[in-house]
């Protein structure tokens, strides 16, 4: 259905105009701090807190970016740290999707004793604030010998309760008939999962992957605890370190922030469908 592009009733017209104004205003307001980050990243520190703030920097101060990349100690490890973040967040996204799909499928399509209890127990983990379990969790990882490694960074986040929830919701809407028909045809359960269920959960997987990726990209506390070598650090740890150093200036700090944000923004723009497809999966559940 296509509505006429400009409504005729006065109330509708007012709403039509107002909606655009409000959305544009909100979008502008929300983008201001981002624009500020970009503009300040090209300024010397003293211009950043000048009154009034001049949005256009006098010349592009690439020195900030050079300092951001080289680090205050000139070790040039930032690029490696960005890579680490990509590896960790990517791996977590992949495993989260795989494990959540399997568990979600199990919960959605099979009846077994203890199912509801197990499901509630998984759901309850969503309520656990990370700080609460940080120390016992660290103990687990140390006992397994995974500190200071990619495994240590990835393992504790390989699956998420939310992911299980999402997949289960999505698969509840998956027609039982298809699964039953495949069974009658003699397909093994594993085969059904792999060749019928998995290919059908594309949108949910993409959404979940994006979510998991973003969360790891954001993770600060855990990498600080688990990683010791500079070259194993991830972006947030690098930022905290860079900002804590006494000689760091605000311009370089903003350059660090821009560099940290670039990869996710590129992902965001190219995969915006999945970022925004956010809850296509929610509504797809049982209704």
């Amino acid at each position: 259905m296509r509505k006429p592009s400009i409504p005729k009733r006065p109330l509708e017209l007012a709403f039509f105009v107002l909606a655009r104004l409000v959305v544009a205003g909100a979008a502008a307001l929300i983008l201001v701090p981002l624009a500020f980050m970009l503009s300040a990243s090209f300024m010397p520190a003293s211009d950043i807190v000048s009154i009034p703030y001049r949005w256009i920097p006098d010349g592009l101060r690439w020195k900030n970016y050079l300092q951001a990349l080289a680090g205050n100690d000139g070790s040039w490890l930032y690029a490696r740290n960005v890579l680490n973040s990509l590896v960790v967040a990517g791996a977590v996204a992949a495993t989260t999707v795989a494990i959540s799909a399997s568990v979600g499928y199990g919960f959605a399509k099979f009846r077994f004793r203890g199912r509801n209890l197990a499901f509630m127990a998984v759901m309850a983990t969503m309520m656990i604030p990370f700080e609460t379990v940080m120390v016992p969790l660290y103990l687990v990882v140390v006992r397994l010998g995974f500190q200071d490694s990619y495994l240590g960074l990835i393992l504790p986040f390989m699956a998420s309760a939310f992911g299980v929830f999402l997949m289960r919701q999505y698969l509840l809407g998956f027609p039982d008939d298809i699964v039953d028909a495949a069974r009658i045809d003699g397909c093994s359960e594993w085969r059904i999962f792999r060749s019928i269920v998995l290919p059908s959960i594309g949108p949910a997987s993409a959404t979940l992957a994006v979510l998991a990726f973003r969360q790891q990209w954001d993770n600060l506390l855990w990498p600080l605890l688990v990683v010791q070598r500079e070259e194993m650090k991830t972006i947030p740890a690098y930022i905290v370190k860079f900002a804590a150093e006494k000689s760091a200036d605000e311009g370089a700090m903003m350059a660090v922030a821009v560099i940290a944000s670039l990869p996710v923004f590129i992902l965001f723009i190219t995969l915006s469908k999945y970022f925004l497809g956010g809850s296509a999966v929610f509504a797809a559940g049982k209704e």
Binding site: A45, S46, V49, I51, N72, D73, M134, V135, Y138, L139, V142, Q147, L224, L225, Q228, R229, E230, V240, K241, A244, E245, K246, S247, D249
Partner: protein, 433 residues
């Protein structure tokens, strides 16, 4: 033949000792040991320490050293989690009031005399200026070797004094009252927003820098017998009021939310005229702003005292001690102490490159120390100063002080109320020990 062989051997020995001056530790011969150091970030120090480690591992090829640095704001949590999980480092250092709980709980090994080349614990104590090892001596044993001991003095920007019509040589503030009045003259504002500050504190180091202000007035953090806390209402209230008066609810001269004073000071962008820092700030100032350093438009004066002070109390000094974990095998402890002693044997280089003072008698008397600009100001204050409070709950007490002072300065809490709460929480914290 024998003789030639002997001569050759001798020559080889000399050559070896020339290229790597580090001592060969007999216990480590033919063994492989891996030791880990966790220390806070300090670019200049990292550079020289990595070199010492290279030299040490060349002399003792079985030793492998992992040198890891952490931001100074984070390292305490990381060391804590490390030891809690049985995964602590071999060697670490923290500010003494953060490190002391580890010592108190038995996680720290006493200095291995043989590996570090001392005859006795007395021998170690004799090497350092008296009192400097106090926090790490227990039952006659020494549990740490000082990496740095620091007190703070007042850095002054001469240009900004003159611009405000003041004569820096005469008008530099000797008292807290003058700090305030001079700051009033220098401060520049856009309405309520400070564009230029005279002085600002170094937040949030309340144990180090604010407790002395209380002590100058006769107050105490903890009474001598350890039974009473926050002793001397008048002294505490006066300091609380000073903070309230200094902050945005009073004369609006400074606040913890502006750029850190010493960072702004180094940049010399007409932002702040006075800040508190240690001797190590001088090499940093030189690195951050060589032009300002060379211009000699800065100077250092003693830590201010109250006009009606009951006694002279300079800024507390605080220390970082290299400590070795008691949780690792003996051999690792020996290797660790050998390495620590080797690194710390370069006191003059630490001073010249990093600006940190290892309080050995030799260094304090050395030409290198005397040649450091303003080292006499720091040394004079240091002689009258005492060490910062340390105990099993010193970290908690530092946080309680921050909360109390900032509640008065920023949140409008009445000083008497803040003091009452501070006293209650401190007593509780001490009771937990």
């Amino acid at each position: 033949m024998k003789r030639i062989a002997f001569a050759l051997l001798a020559l080889a020995f000399v050559a070896a000792s020339l290229s790597a001056q580090a001592p060969v530790v007999p216990e480590l011969k033919g063994k492989t040991v891996e030791i880990t150091i966790w220390t806070h970030e300090d670019v200049n120090r990292t550079a020289i320490e990595k070199r010492y480690i290279d030299e040490f591992t060349k002399a003792n090829p079985g030793v492998k050293v992992n040198y890891v640095t952490y931001p100074s704001g984070k390292i305490k949590d990381i060391v804590t989690a490390g030891f809690a999980a049985g995964n602590g480092p071999d060697i670490f250092n923290l500010e003494i009031f953060d490190a002391y709980p580890f010592l108190a709980e038995g996680f720290v090994a006493p200095v291995d005399l043989k590996a570090s080349g001392y005859k006795s614990y007395k021998d170690i104590e004799a090497k350092y200026v008296s009192g400097m090892l106090a926090p790490v001596v227990e039952g006659g044993k020494v549990y740490g070797l000082p990496l740095e001991l620091t007190n703070w003095a007042l850095f002054i920007n001469r240009k900004m004094f003159r611009a405000a019509g003041l004569d820096p040589e005469k008008d530099w503030p000797k008292t807290w009252e003058e700090v305030r009045s001079v700051s009033e003259k220098i401060a520049k504002r856009d309405g309520q927003i400070l564009l230029r500050r005279g002085f600002d504190f170094r937040y949030p180091y309340y144990l180090t820098s604010v407790v002395p202000m209380v002590e100058q007035l006769g107050g105490e953090l903890v009474s001598k017998d350890g039974k009473k806390v926050a002793v001397g209402d008048a002294a505490w209230l006066k300091v609380f009021e000073y903070f309230r008066d200094f902050g945005p609810n009073g004369r609006n001269l400074g606040s913890p939310t502006y750029t850190a004073a010493r960072k702004a000071f180094d940049l010399d962008k007409d932002e702040i005229a006075m800040s508190l820092s240690g001797l190590y700030q001088i090499p940093r100032l030189k690195a951050a702003n060589p032009a300002f350093y060379d211009s000699k438009e800065w100077m250092v004066v003693p830590f201010p005292q109250w006009k009606d002070a009951k006694k002279v109390v300079p800024n507390n000094y605080y220390g970082h001690y290299y400590m070795v974990s008691s949780q690792e095998p003996k051999l690792q402890q020996q290797a660790s102490w050998a390495l620590v002693s080797y690194m710390l044997s370069h006191g003059e280089e630490y001073l010249e490159q990093v600006g940190i003072v290892q309080p050995t008698k030799a260094l304090m008397e050395s030409a290198a120390f005397k040649a450091m600009p303003y080292s006499d100001v720091f040394a004079k204050d240091l002689a009258k100063a005492h060490i910062v409070y340390y105990g099993a709950s010193s970290t908690k007490i530092d946080a309680l002080l921050k909360e109390a002072f900032e509640s008065v300065m920023l949140s409008g809490v009445e000083p008497a109320k803040a003091l009452e709460k501070l006293r209650k929480s401190m007593a509780e914290a001490l009771a937990d020990e």
